[in-house]
């Protein structure tokens, strides 16, 4: 069964049809990319999936449940985590607190934790902190747990955003241009990290990316959006050779 099923969603802002009849099906464990020129509506799709916008038409079904019109925090608690195109950390909080908040709030659906947890409040606070630290370790950020998020260098802020999104223990992770602003080497490291995370946490990943080399190497399937409409869908190979895509987006640069 599909983990995520998006049926014909559309949204307009004023006269602009930002997303028009968008469909998507993600199977558990898939890694799918969403590409398209600037302003094609990619982030809008993310905003609909996370409940930040309500689609005017269509439905979003996640994990067998219709989540269309559900509030952001509820959708997040059901298991959709995301990162942002422009980094949006809780800048004045520590690195550790950024992760802890996501864990404590998004993790609420796991009522079993609450019931079977033993020991005092203090102990559970410590458990949470330990857990968050172990997550930071994956991202090589455990040494910076006590630092204020805004003081981290750019690359680390990007990693912290992913760490924070994962702290909610999502089933589906939405990454909005995770490689933006990274140099080629950092991008390659990110690629490995995403592959590893997906396996380690059995994640389904849907990502927006402008870095073609990353998308082509990482994704099994790619959707191309232009003017709010899906103009192509297929394997990286198919996308690379699709004339409509080349015309709309990739131009001469495809190698």
């Amino acid at each position: 069964m599909a983990l995520l099923k998006v049926e014909d969603i559309s949204i307009s802002f004023g006269g602009l049809r930002a997303v028009s009849g968008f469909n998507l099906e993600l199977k558990p464990g898939e890694l799918v990319g969403l590409i398209g020129p600037n302003g094609a509506g990619k982030t809008t799709v993310f905003n609909i999936l996370t409940g930040f916008y309500q689609p005017q038409e269509g439905r979003v079904i996640f994990d067998g449940k219709d989540i269309t019109g559900l509030g952001c925090h509820k959708i997040n608690r059901l298991g959709i985590g995301r990162t942002f195109q422009n980094i949006r950390l809780f800048n004045e909080l520590t690195v550790l607190d950024n992760v802890k908040i996501a864990y404590q709030y998004a993790g609420r659906y796991s009522w079993r934790h609450t019931i079977f947890r033993t020991g005092s409040y203090r102990r559970s606070e410590k458990e949470i902190a330990d857990w968050a630290l172990s997550r930071l370790e994956i991202f090589n950020l455990d040494g910076k747990a006590g630092e204020i998020a805004k003081n981290l260098p750019y690359g680390e802020q990007r990693r912290l955003e992913i760490a924070r999104a994962l702290a909610g223990r999502p089933k589906l992770l939405l990454l909005d241009e995770p490689a933006a602003g990274m140099n080629p080497q950092e991008t390659m490291e990110l690629l490995e990290l995403i592959k590893w995370l997906r396996k380690e946490f059995s994640l389904t990943i849907f990502l927006i990316e402008h870095d073609m080399s990353l998308v082509m190497k990482l994704c099994e399937r790619i959707l191309v959006l232009d003017y709010g409409m899906t103009i192509a869908e297929g394997s990286p190979e198919e996308i690379r050779n699709n004339p409509r895509v080349i015309e709309a987006y990739l131009g001469e640069e495809v190698s």
């Binding site: 930040f52 509030g71 997040n76 950390l89 809780f90 909080l93 998004a106």
Partner: protein, 294 residues
């Protein structure tokens, strides 16, 4: 010298009242970027609840509890019925601001309607007999009570914001509400909590002012509300320690000007202080430079 110290003591107790009210302004602003102009009137509600509770002969802790709980309920209700619908419809911020002014006028006139516009003497719960302190400085029991209880409230609030899960979520929402929502934080609940805490603090300030300056009336919230707002801006709106410091500065400036210059100049100089501080540091003492939203 002792005269000066005396005025410092007086200024601190007045300032702590302003600080308590300023906290509500600053917390609400920090979370939803709204200047809640009805906040000064919430403080009036607290004073009236305290008035009736004392007259009913309730013990002091219960009086304070009621005088914090009832305004908290007011704050919660106002947010729910007046501000939340606007937020849900993505109304421009000016609409919320006008609603806040409307709410303020509503509460003031409701107060006049129910309690009549005449000032009432607040029950004398404590003797105002000054207690002699070191160096000829005197302090009264209401002043001690005000300073002590304000300190307790401020310390509790600071600990709450710093260490509890809800406190951290409040900070997260004030830094990036959208991101917080997408991390599972229910911002409606956080906003409600903010209004409850802010209103409870204002309610406590209302009772304390009744004990300190035993005269209450339905329009009593206007000036202190305005001054507390100014205090919040001086400290850096949205910043909690800023509201505390701003309130103290405001109370101190007012008391010192009254004592050493002239009481007619009191408000002019207090507000002049605001202008000077904002000229030097436009975002307030603890305020960070303007945030860019991306």
């Amino acid at each position: 010298m002792s005269q000066f110290l005396q005025q410092i003591v007086n200024g601190l107790s007045l300032g702590s009242i302003y600080a308590l009210i300023a906290l509500g302004y600053t917390m609400v602003y920090g979370i939803i970027r709204l200047i809640n102009f009805a906040h000064g009137d919430i403080y009036m509600v607290g004073a009236f609840v305290g008035y009736f509770a004392f007259r009913a002969g309730l013990p002091l802790p219960l009086v304070f509890f009621l005088a914090m709980a009832v305004p908290a309920l007011f704050g919660l209700t106002i947010e729910f019925f007046a501000y939340r619908p606007l937020r849900k419809r993505n109304a421009p911020r000016i609409a919320a601001l006008i609603t806040a002014i409307g709410m303020s006028l509503f509460l003031e006139n409701l107060g006049i309607l129910i309690f009549s516009p005449d000032p009432r003497p607040f029950p004398r719960v404590f003797t105002n007999e000054p207690i002699y302190f070191a160096g000829g400085v005197t302090i009264s029991i209401p002043q001690i009570l005000t300073l002590a209880f304000t300190s307790v409230l401020m310390i509790s609030l600071t600990l709450f914001i710093r260490f509890t899960r809800t406190g951290k979520a409040m900070r997260a929402v004030s830094q990036d509400a959208e991101a917080a929502q997408l991390m599972g934080v229910n911002i409606d609940r956080i906003i409600s909590v903010t209004f409850v805490i802010g209103s409870a603090l204002a309610g406590a300030a209302g009772v304390m002012v009744g004990i300190l300056i035993p005269r209450i009336e339905p329009l009593m919230g206007i000036m202190p509300g305005l001054k507390a707002f100014v205090a919040a801006v001086i400290g850096g709106i949205g910043v909690i320690p800023g509201a505390m410091l701003g309130g103290m500065l405001m109370g101190m400036a007012e008391t010192l000007v009254t004592a050493f210059i002239s009481s007619t100049w009191r408000d002019a100089i207090a507000f002049g202080l605001l202008i000077v501080i904002l000229l030097i540091k436009p975002s307030g003492i603890f305020g960070s430079s303007s945030r860019t939203k991306v």
